[in-house]
Symmetry: C2
Subunit: 508 residues, 2 copies
Amino acid sequence: MKHALSVTRAQDFAAWYQAVISEADLAEESGVRGCMVIRPWGYGIWERIQKLLDAEIKRTGHENCYFPLFIPLSYFAREAEHVEGFAKEMAVVTHHRLKAEGGSLVPDPDSKLEEPLVVRPTSEMIIGAAFSRWVQSWRDLPVLTNQWANVVRWEMRTRMFLRTAEFLWQEGHTAHATAEEAREETLRMLEVYRSLAEDCLALPVVAGEKPENERFPGAVATYSIEAMMQDGKALQAGTSHFLGTNFAAAQNIRFQNSQGEQELANTTSWGVTTRLIGGVVMVHGDDDGLRVPPVIAPQQIIIVPMLRDQPEDDSILAYCQEIAAALSKLTAFGEPVRPLLDKKAIKAANKRWSWVKKGAPIIVEVGGRDLAAGNVSVVRRDRLYNEAGKLDSAVIARDDFLGAAAAMLEDIQKSLHAQAKAFLHGNIDRSVTDVAGLKAYFGDNGKAGWAEVQWSKPTGAALDQVVETLKAMKLTLRNVPLDAAEADGACIFTGAPAVERVLVGRAY
Amino acid sequence: MKHALSVTRAQDFAAWYQAVISEADLAEESGVRGCMVIRPWGYGIWERIQKLLDAEIKRTGHENCYFPLFIPLSYFAREAEHVEGFAKEMAVVTHHRLKAEGGSLVPDPDSKLEEPLVVRPTSEMIIGAAFSRWVQSWRDLPVLTNQWANVVRWEMRTRMFLRTAEFLWQEGHTAHATAEEAREETLRMLEVYRSLAEDCLALPVVAGEKPENERFPGAVATYSIEAMMQDGKALQAGTSHFLGTNFAAAQNIRFQNSQGEQELANTTSWGVTTRLIGGVVMVHGDDDGLRVPPVIAPQQIIIVPMLRDQPEDDSILAYCQEIAAALSKLTAFGEPVRPLLDKKAIKAANKRWSWVKKGAPIIVEVGGRDLAAGNVSVVRRDRLYNEAGKLDSAVIARDDFLGAAAAMLEDIQKSLHAQAKAFLHGNIDRSVTDVAGLKAYFGDNGKAGWAEVQWSKPTGAALDQVVETLKAMKLTLRNVPLDAAEADGACIFTGAPAVERVLVGRAY
């Protein structure tokens, strides 16, 4: 069977991923090392994610702020442990002026900054400094803050959406009077992320706690949601950190409690990034391109008039306009349906395939015959081909389609989620009982999915040993699922009695 | 009369401006040179502006994208004229790693970039490079793009919102097949800005074309909207540039026209920034703080329960909750009304004054007496005091208030606009006929407002002479209003026959 992309998932998953991103007009190389241009369809998906998540962030009591892009170098020295995790690769601003020299431009040596500025890789330090000003009394707590921003981490190997030098994200930062409250907050936002992934992005995820070696530097506990890509690898799709008083101590976030005593606040931070879009591609894409879950599709129903430079073109356009107007009055997922009438001056067949590759949930084609009979030709992107392997374009009476469109979108959302969920659950092995079994399960190509194994939760050097053993197999510890069964056996690494179950897999 | 701020506009306008920003919790110094922290109330106003403007940007056919923060130095060399306007002060990234040295952190010399990266001061160059990839044929045109982003200009003297090293903005960039289309686009977006300012921010503005010396570097024509602050100074509140083929030539944005010939595209760019919030402060603020126009108020009606740690507190809270719920079902300006029940654990009187300083349009106070009588006590921020100079808090039956609230918000919006419009029109002088008259009008303190004068539109050295003459009086040419009367006299600078009327004033 011929497909719209020149490379299939089975042939070369990495090349397929790049092909989807390019053919779906999600993003492209910018010419600036490690930075991408996010094109309208990709950015439109990000805007949908922003809108949905922002509403949840506000509903849970947080307020948006904006903090500086630049962080003075000295701020990083305040939190040595934190620095350890980030110091290696950051963009550093050292000059504030250019000058012409020998026909080209150079940083003006006279403009060298006394203190270099780091382009934020994350904002704990600059936001912590603000919290220390804002928090004086227990009455000032909790402080519930979020920021939508760009951040920069100088990655050596970059990959569109998954790992780029600059990326977009939201970072929540909160301060609380007690550890208990801060822990609740950490789990509350983890649940917000889980629900965003499952209910909006149709991404089934496992929510759990990261093992010690995978914690955010300086955190007391780090939680994540992990999604399984179609090549079986894990993608960490969001994290939520309970920071205890570690950052508050470094940044002097103290308050007077109701007994008049000084205490350190407990803080949290949590974030999701444009990486989520990479996850959507690798979970929902197929050999014809992307399939965007309707909830996050910038436009959900694309209407393609089949024009032939004939007098009847005007009537076809008018008919399409009516359909678009009628669709935009419908409601799906509690919001108005988002139709788009594609009037671009290119061939209808090319348009159809461009929208297939972009993954618009429903494509409606209207030609002269449809117009005459009061019909539309409808393609559902989640069921592109019929059993005979032909494009499944159903001719339906216009009014029947209008009556069914909202439910069809909801059905597509469900079907994408169900398909991905079946894949996730079908590819978690729970039978491995020793390291040899792990090796056998993952084999050489590591495309087996994940293994949930029992372990004794070693720490320190014993944990390092486990990490090394896994690394030799290109495996990592993902997380300890919150809803995993109790441990009832032996640790597959140490043989000691197991205390919990942890997910192991290859990862992006 | 005593006011909520410690400094009045009349005493010291600059100090008053800082006091409003601080007391209204709009923003604060960040500790990073020239960068501010935008606090929730200030950021909430920006979110409202973003939401309203973004809808207009999309309605006029533009799509949002995201382009890199960093621009390689060599890109700046491509457009010499453009560089002239920006090269002086930009943040330059020269290293990509830190290392520990002698107990502190320094940029690692081994991580020096081969080509330094400039933190974008604006994105013509990086977006132009994308356009040159995207535009091949006339069928690809127009390209209508917008980006919401942070940019950095290394300003020596900074002032919150008005001039900061980092600021937030949107920048629109478009490419068209013809100059005519591009000119139409330039004026279309100028009108979008004019309407945003007048209808949403209640900022009366004068839309017009900038004289040659005030053009964006490389532009064929620059248009602006200019607002008058309460100290009579002008604030350039938005600009729209027709770039002709200048940028297209430098960046190789060419297309094959329908006759198969290669042509350069015509491009435009246009932007507004967080500076608009500074304009709102200086136009609508008074000696009690900010007054936020209801259309852009994050919350429009604040409900303050007057709690006294008494058993009746619960009933008061329940009563307030009902009012908040009823208000959120109302519609004003075509959107649901945005009430906020302020339950913070501070004294009711302090709460009232904090919301007065923040400029919430309506403050509703509810005490035990109000509850018993089914009333509310209502303060309108645009009419804070009665004729006797007392706080004008009106006791109204709850249901009467609910019935009147939406109309009251709309009335406040109108009254703020009308007041500012009267100030603007009352402070533009049209009687000056020579430079001596200009000097007399502006006097030494320059708080007179603006003068609209006739001029011969000199260019080159003659224009430089005019600019110098004005500079000696700390005056600048603002713009040539689109709706100014025809010229019918002599140029006040050269004595030659005038060709148009231009606004002159002091400016931020």
